[in-house]
């Protein structure tokens, strides 16, 4: 009897803990881990939506996907988009942050204005961009024509479609980068700038490299990773403005997954591409976590 009485209070917290954590764990399993497992499983089958019972096909889907020229092209398109958006948004964000840092008045106003594109829904903003870029009555072409400059059908031209989408991407992400850089710049001790001026580095460029750059480097790395993740995940503008065209010029990874899964109903191909995509974003996510931890420690 006495043994049981002693044991009871020790064992009680366990069921109560499970009871409390259970619903959340179940939801997590059902809504987050479940679909993920399902997708990964589907990637190893020949299952197609509405088709017959799936068969296990091993790595066939992966082999086919890697050999597929369209898929290879879409990886390349995504990479090109990322390589345009990330440096653009990073440098513009840093530049804006440094300008605002030096501003005496109106800092909050400008900060808000530059941050607006980021919080505005990109899907909704795409409509505005579509109107701006309309080949005949869009202000962009009308303006160019008025100045006697060549006009273009920006979203229908293979040479301009992806750069234009990248420009919209930069417009969207610059505010995001700027906010992080502003926070980082405020943490640079003014004393260091003073010391640099006395030590003989009076010029802005020298002082940027001696004082500012080392201070904001961890944040810059963090912003770089997050921007890359954002760019790799581009979808809204492509789906709404170009549908991956003209040709395959703007067919980015996420759009391929969307088409395979929801237009062609080749669920297994979509699942395989998703696994590939997940690997990229997971890597970036882990990099971000590690950088975040290091930035926090410094």
């Amino acid at each position: 009897m006495s043994d049981l009485a002693l044991a009871a209070p020790l064992s009680r917290p366990l069921p109560k803990g499970i009871l409390l954590a259970g619903p959340a764990a179940l939801l997590m399993l059902l809504l987050q881990i479940g679909p993920l497992v399902l997708v990964v499983c589907a990637a190893f089958t020949d299952w197609q939506l509405g088709g017959e019972a799936p068969n296990f096909v091993g790595l066939d889907n992966f082999r086919a996907l890697i050999a597929d020229h369209d898929f290879q092209a879409s990886v390349l398109v995504t990479a090109r988009y990322t390589l345009m958006v990330v440096p653009g948004a990073l440098l513009l964000g840093l530049g804006l942050a440094m300008l605002l840092q030096g501003a005496r008045r109106g800092r909050t106003v400008y900060q808000t204005i530059f941050f607006l594109p980021y919080i505005a829904t990109l899907a909704a903003m795409s409509i505005a961009w579509q109107m701006l870029l309309h080949p005949s009555f869009g202000p962009v072409n009308q303006g160019l024509a008025a100045l006697g400059l060549p006009v273009a059908n920006w979203l229908r031209d293979e040479n301009t479609a992806l750069p234009v989408l990248a420009l919209i991407g930069i417009w969207h992400e610059t505010g995001f980068a700027m906010v992080f850089f502003l926070a980082a710049l405020t943490s640079v001790p003014t004393e260091l700038h003073d010391a640099a001026r006395i030590d003989g580095l009076g010029g802005g460029w020298d002082r940027f490299w001696l004082v500012t750059a080392p201070h904001i480097a961890p944040i810059a790395l963090f912003v770089l990773v997050v921007l890359t993740a954002h760019a790799v995940m581009v979808f809204d503008t492509v789906a709404l403005l170009t549908q991956g065209g003209p040709g395959n010029a703007t067919r980015v990874l996420l759009f391929v997954i969307y088409q395979e899964g929801f237009s062609f109903f080749r669920t297994n191909v979509a699942a395989t591409a998703t696994v590939f995509f997940l690997a990229i974003t997971l890597t970036l996510g882990m990099l971000q976590l590690r950088l975040g931890r290091r930035g926090g420690a410094a």
Partner: protein
Amino acid sequence: MTQLSIGQLSKRFGAVDVLRDISLDVRPGEFVSLLGPSGCGKSTLLRILSGLEQADTGSIRLGVRELTGVAPSERDIAMVFQNFALYPQMTVRENIALPLRVRRLSRWRRMLRLGGAVAADIDAEVAAMARTLEIEPLLDRKPAALSGGQRQRVALGRALIRQSSLLLMDEPLSSLDARLRLQTRDEISQIQRQFGITTVFVTHDQAEAMAISDRIAVMLGGRIAQFAAPEEIYRAPASLAVAEFIGTTRLNRFETRVDQGGFLRLGPHALHRVAPELAGQDVTLAWRPEAFRLSGDGLPVLVRRLESHGADSFLHGECLGQPLVARLEPGPGLTAGETVRLEPRPEATLLFDAAGQSRPHAPAMALAHV
């Protein structure tokens, strides 16, 4: 060793006069402290000397050179900052070498790390400085791996390596803990003498200023209220404001009037004769707590409370309806509630006119009862 002359310097920030007509001559090799409460303009004055800030009017001469309008790096000055301002990404060696590298090597040679014979010279100078400051074992560490006192030495090293004519220090001890502050204070004093560099040191800590300075400029409300040796500032404050600012305990103040005969009176007591031109004027008498001694015919003081500090004790009492604090040597036991007689030493009596300016007064004359 170089002389520093500041002439009629003024500075406004918006509607606020931060510095008003500051003139100061610092002798070659002298250690001068700018002492004052926060907001008195002492840091602004230092920043103007460094060139980080510009004065509205006035001149600064270092030796024979006029510094107004000269860039901070061209002024032949060095500065030690409150939080040391070491470059965190550089080692101690690189921090100390930086002012020399910037001056002696072009940007490209610095970036490509091509220094040649010049770099070898710089290395030797850094090594010598590290020996002097006893920081040789730290040369390859980063600032983050140093203690507060070590960072202070590195900051000093970076300031002294250029052998500038003037060393400016902005509260360099305030970010150290109490014990380290005392030790570092002595080290700074010793190093300053060793290098013989003319030094201006900003602090709000009077004990620090007293201990380390050849002369102290007390700054109050953007003006220099007094510029004198520490001992003189304590013994003969130029104004009531200086007297109240200097000293660890409250000043005992009595407002009174000089009678027509030129006698200083305090209640029914005539103290002594003062300058005839003060006859009939309102004045303020002030004594520091240590100005009193127990005496049969002093001022009557009602003892409220006694506080023993070991070597001496503080009497908190009441004299002529006003609170009074006296520091006495531990002697015959006093008790709260009794009335004792305390006589102020005439040479420790401070006298100020209605404008708060110090006035000389005739020496020793016994307290007389009228």
